[in-house]
Amino acid sequence: MIDSLPVSNTAPRAGDGGAAPAIEARDLVKTYGGKVRALDGLSFTVEAGAIFALLGPNGAGKSTTVKILNTLSRPDSGSARVGGFDVFGEPEQVRRAIGCVAQKSGVDPEATGRENLTLQARIYGLGGHALKDRVAQLLDRFTLTEAADMVARSYSGGMQRKLDIAMGLVHHPRVLFLDEPTTGLDPEARADLWDDISRLAGEEGITVLLTTHYLEEADQLAGRLAIVDRGRLVVEGTPDQLKGELFGDAIHMEFLQPEAEGRVRAALNGLADIRELVVAGQSLRARADQGATAVPGMLTALEAQGLKVASVTVARPSLDDVYLRYAGRSFAEADQVSQKGAR
């Protein structure tokens, strides 16, 4: 009964064979009010069964992308296929093939967890024992059985998120959208949810499109990731590939006061092993094959020009560095800028 949803009978399961990709977005452009360009020609492909992360700061266009792919919104131009169906031509089929967990929770706070799940299951055509079994199974799976008959308003943030994900899974979707699933959760609940999400792809074999602005989340969960900035895809690959493209260690220094970029560059000019130097206000970022041996030389050269350094850190490459390299600004910085912009 559960598995005889209309979609599995009538539609070719194009997303399953491994041949056709689960998600294909081509040249998506979306502007709001004719001015704000949220998406500026975004394209990417997600293979069936993969966890794919769209990583970017707030306002990069991640949520807009998800809203277009899940039929909630229409782009100005571009095309998209999800689960083998044309998102604009066959929205009904797409809706049956996908599960969605939006950034904003979609839980009805006045209904209990069980009632929320039951309504969701009914909408997808489940009924009778199959419905009861599926609801009980999901409550158990997300350890919500105890709270099942309490109204969702009384749930903690983590519990509500779990209920959200359970609701997105109720009809065995082939593609699951998780839009910023752990935003606003405490670290413990986040780690807990990460476990759930990685188990999902393994057990249910579904394709997951995850958006996040946590670098470590993408690193932890995604098999492949794409960095999105200002509505464009900046770079795409596996987390290891992307980190591997950065040779050497990342060096980060903070000056006592903001320094002119020209002066800093001039001071470090003679040092051959310093690459990818970025100076912004009080902070300096650079890359060197051997960070530990490059730092003393840098400090001497800077001191000689009267540039006072307050702190130094040397780190192995992280996704933050990947972001800096490809988007041309540090992740935290981009996040702050877009948050100011949003206000």
Binding site: K67, N70, T71, L72, S73, R74, E92, R95, R96, I98, C100, A102, K104, S105, G106, V107, D108, P109, E110, A111, E115, L119, Q120, R122, I123, Y124, V151, M167
Partner: protein
């Protein structure tokens, strides 16, 4: 078929949530009860105006207040849509294969159920304060039907407005700016014969007027059934038009989402 089942799922959800706060039904009755008791007493002697053609003002005003209360229940329906929008419930529904019209219809069905309960309470209160209806049960049935057929289209319009503007102030503002004038441009409180000519002329096109006239005629000693059915028919057409419009509002919502 999915339209019907989905509408019932949605109506069930709204009624269940409402049953967890039943005092809400009573609170939203406070205003019409005040109208009924206050106007019923204050304008008692208005029936003595030549041409008013009613024996008791309480009997005259009770169906008016029932209909006015239904009108407002309908007009405020969009607030629920706004709640669903704010809580992300609407987006969750819209990415599911739920029938779009059922989202609106579910709200209208549950609102009608509440409206029915409130109307019966108001009719009972009217009776207690001296209202008598010569039309009997058939008349009361027509009163309930015309109240709900008036509330439904305004609920649909209110839902559409909520989807389009997505701001609480706009829905509150529009409700007040539209519902109050419509009430006073109708024979809710005053007989048509003693209205100024221009109000009488305008009221011909006012759905509130169709509803009140149908109910009063059916409640009277000699109902004119043709007159009643024409008005009920107009209300029905108006309701279907508004429901279609509200369902189309989802498309506009999708464009701007």
């Amino acid at each position: 078929m999915t339209f019907l089942t989905h509408s019932l799922f949605m109506a069930q959800r709204h009624l269940r949530n409402l049953s967890r706060q039943p005092w809400w039904i009573v609170i939203s009755l406070v205003q019409p009860v005040v109208w009924l008791l206050l106007y019923g007493q204050l304008f008692k002697r208005v029936v003595e105006l030549p041409g008013f053609n009613a024996s008791s003002y309480v009997s005259f005003v009770t169906p008016g207040v029932v209909i006015m209360s239904a009108l407002f229940a309908g007009g405020w329906n969009g607030m629920g849509v706004l709640m669903d929008l704010n809580q992300g419930v609407m987006d969750r529904l819209l990415v599911s294969p739920i029938n779009r019209a059922a989202i609106i219809a579910g709200r209208i069905i549950s609102m009608s159920a509440v409206c029915l309960i409130q109307s019966l309470i108001l009719i009972g209160l009217g009776y207690v304060t001296g209202a008598r209806f010569a039309g009997g049960l058939a008349g009361i049935f027509i009163l309930l039907a015309s109240a709900i057929l008036l509330a439904a289209p305004f609920a649909a319009l209110s839902d559409a407005l909520a989807l389009l503007v997505r701001r609480q102030e706009s829905v509150i503002g529009a409700s007040n700016f539209i519902l109050m004038p419509l009430t006073f441009l109708s024979p809710v409180f005053m007989a048509k014969n003693v209205m100024p000519d221009w109000i009488r002329a305008v009221s011909r096109y006012n759905p509130v007027n169709w509803s009140v006239e149908a109910a009063r005629s059916a409640l009277g000693p000699t109902p004119d059934w043709r007159f009643v059915l024409v008005r009920i028919g107009c209300l029905l057409v108006f309701a279907l038009l508004c429901a279609a419009l509200a369902t189309r509002a989802f498309r506009a919502y999708q464009r701007s989402a």
